[in-house]
Symmetry: C4
Subunit: 223 residues, 4 copies
């Protein structure tokens, strides 16, 4: 926690600005996708904001590379960072983690282990769904024979995809939209599996703790 | 269990009337939704019953707030209670819990841990499905292009949604219906995940106990 | 295992005939459903076989009731037996269990715990799927607007329902068909969840055992 | 690990050639399925390659049989090997395992237990999906009323089937295509269940380790 290596110091200093940049990037992207008939200057501003944010990510990646002292192996050992550099829309998923860190510093009472896993995986799934709906909507909009006509349709599609319900009333038809959808399915399955699994464990824990509580004269807990 | 704080005493005294009010609220709502051509007086009675029940929930919430001695923080620390105050249809989910408590007082033999989690999560899922089918049906009824035409369709839709099968033969098309459906998917996924997970653990336990049982000369159970 | 109470002796004596009767019942039912244009005498024979089998189940239920010495409470404490008496098609699910018992007596090497749970839940799911396909097909056959036209369609529908894939190309449309389908979804979800959960635990076990095996000079297992 | 029985020595010697043959078999099959208008000689070469590979599998099976010293029981005790002999397309699933072994010999840092299960089950699912898409596409291509028209459609179908989303926009309609699809659903469900379960356990572990890490003055890990 109080690690003083250059990497740790760099991370402590940059985590807040990078998190802000992640959110700004996502917001600017959403504006560009959703706001069709906007004043051109505004769209250009969004584009510039995205470029600036991406430059920050690139600088951060370069500094990490430099500090690691590794050669080309860095790309392989930090595969996740490399992926996030190429797909900056996935970056806000990290903000979920950061929120937890900040809250802890402020001395807030902590949630139980299961509750935190549920919150973390659930919020990641929501962010992933929103990002996926945005990108797939951008691909599908205007495609011939598309069943996804409004952004509302795209959000509804993301909901039924992440929960694996899959009615099939709204479906991506473009090749790129399908590739993004397949990625979203894989990630969403794992995230919602984590939510479900943790919820199940937590419920079992609650019920078993109650058992111990009701027979509290007999056997002191941990005694 | 024998806590004598004012909150605990208030809860012991109010749990039965509040549970009855929850069920009455749900029944009155169901009557209003399902019984179209009913005598007007009857529909008005249902409306009044719903108002009275909701007033009871509000009083209960206010008393809890008062007894807690907290200011506005109460809204945040008792988030679940606040949500249930705004959406009283979700209240019967608590009755499932109460049923278990009452049964225990009557000295009924208790189910095993896994069986209770399965029963609790399963009954919650059934109640959630029924409530969801009611509210979504109210939204969809008469919408142009709706595939959900009868309440039977709505119940069938709730079944295939909660189990994440999702054939897509019956699908909500109105924005509000889709929002409710998305909430139902998320809750149902967690509840049925708990059922599945507990069933799996329970089956493993049954099979492993049987193994020990077949070698019963060697090692007496619990000896 | 060597319990000599009257109930245990009755069970040991009747388990094989009852298992045979269960399979005969299912086979006769399948013949009646699938073989339309059969010679009438044959269909009547099937009907008689079903009646005889059901009479055996009823006698078994009555003997159990008598031996238990309970009054009407028996119906509630043996709820599963009561359900199986009313829906004898579910009886073959017990045969899966019996097969395991018989195999053990013959001194066959036993499978590991996880493998047995997977085998048991998997075989139950297959039987449930076959039975469900039969009964739903009987309801849907000839219904106006039915998408389930052949028994092959029904089996395909059972596959996609039990695995919760739910394409929606084949869907029950009659009320009774949908009720049976909903029951099948609920049971299938639990059974396949058990298969999945056990497979996951088993895979983790295999991989973790391999870890211990590769460092076998260091730390003897269980030493 | 350093087992010197004839079986172990045979396995050590043949694992690399057999893995290569598995991949060659899959590649040759994919070429035959996907490359319609190819020069005939090329297609014939693929067919010959498939035959040669399959001969290698048969020889390997025969040697194992001989070395085991078992009679016809071998077919039953090595059921998986027998299945793989008949369906050689499933063989590359073993290569996933081999890759891990080779990596270990080269002294690569090993992944954690959960990460390895995720990687193994995930890669198996990808291979299974690709193989399934190939074989189902071969059946469906040109069938009347087929919704699977290109290989892209087949891959998209495999994605939505393995994740159990099942939109139903692309669906097999031929009997053989549906049989293969049902097999793929069953295997895919188990594999992705393993991925989900392991991911969930791993996330719980990461979060719980972090808890211990934050109070690191109190209790040294493993001390």
């Amino acid at each position: 926690m109080h690690d003083n290596s250059p990497v740790a110091r760099w991370e402590r200093r940059t985590e807040i600005p990078l998190a802000v940049a992640s959110v700004v990037y996502l917001a600017a992207y959403a504006t560009r996708v959703l706001a069709h008939g906007l004043w051109h200057l505004w769209l250009d501003l969004c584009g510039i904001a995205m470029l600036v944010c991406w430059a920050m990510f690139a600088v951060n990646y370069a500094v990490h590379w430099r500090l690691s002292g590794q050669g080309l192996r860095f790309v392989r050992t930090h595969l996740l960072d490399t992926v996030v550099l190429i797909l900056p829309l996935l970056r806000p998923l990290r903000v979920v983690r950061l929120y937890e860190t900040v809250q802890r510093r402020h001395g807030e009472p902590r949630l139980s282990l299961h509750a935190r896993v549920i919150a973390y995986a659930g919020m990641s799934a929501v962010l992933l769904g929103f990002t996926g709906a945005l990108t797939v909507y951008q691909q599908e909009r205007g495609a011939p024979g598309a069943s996804m006509r409004t952004f509302g349709d795209a959000v509804w599609w993301a909901c039924e995809t992440l929960t694996t319900v899959g009615y099939g009333d709204v479906v991506p038809v473009t090749p790129l939209g399908r590739v993004i959808a397949a990625g979203m399915m894989a990630c969403g399955l794992a995230l919602l599996g984590a939510v479900t699994g943790s919820f199940s464990s937590w419920l079992l824990q609650v019920f078993s703790r109650e058992d111990e509580g009701s027979g509290d004269e007999g056997r002191p807990p941990g005694g």
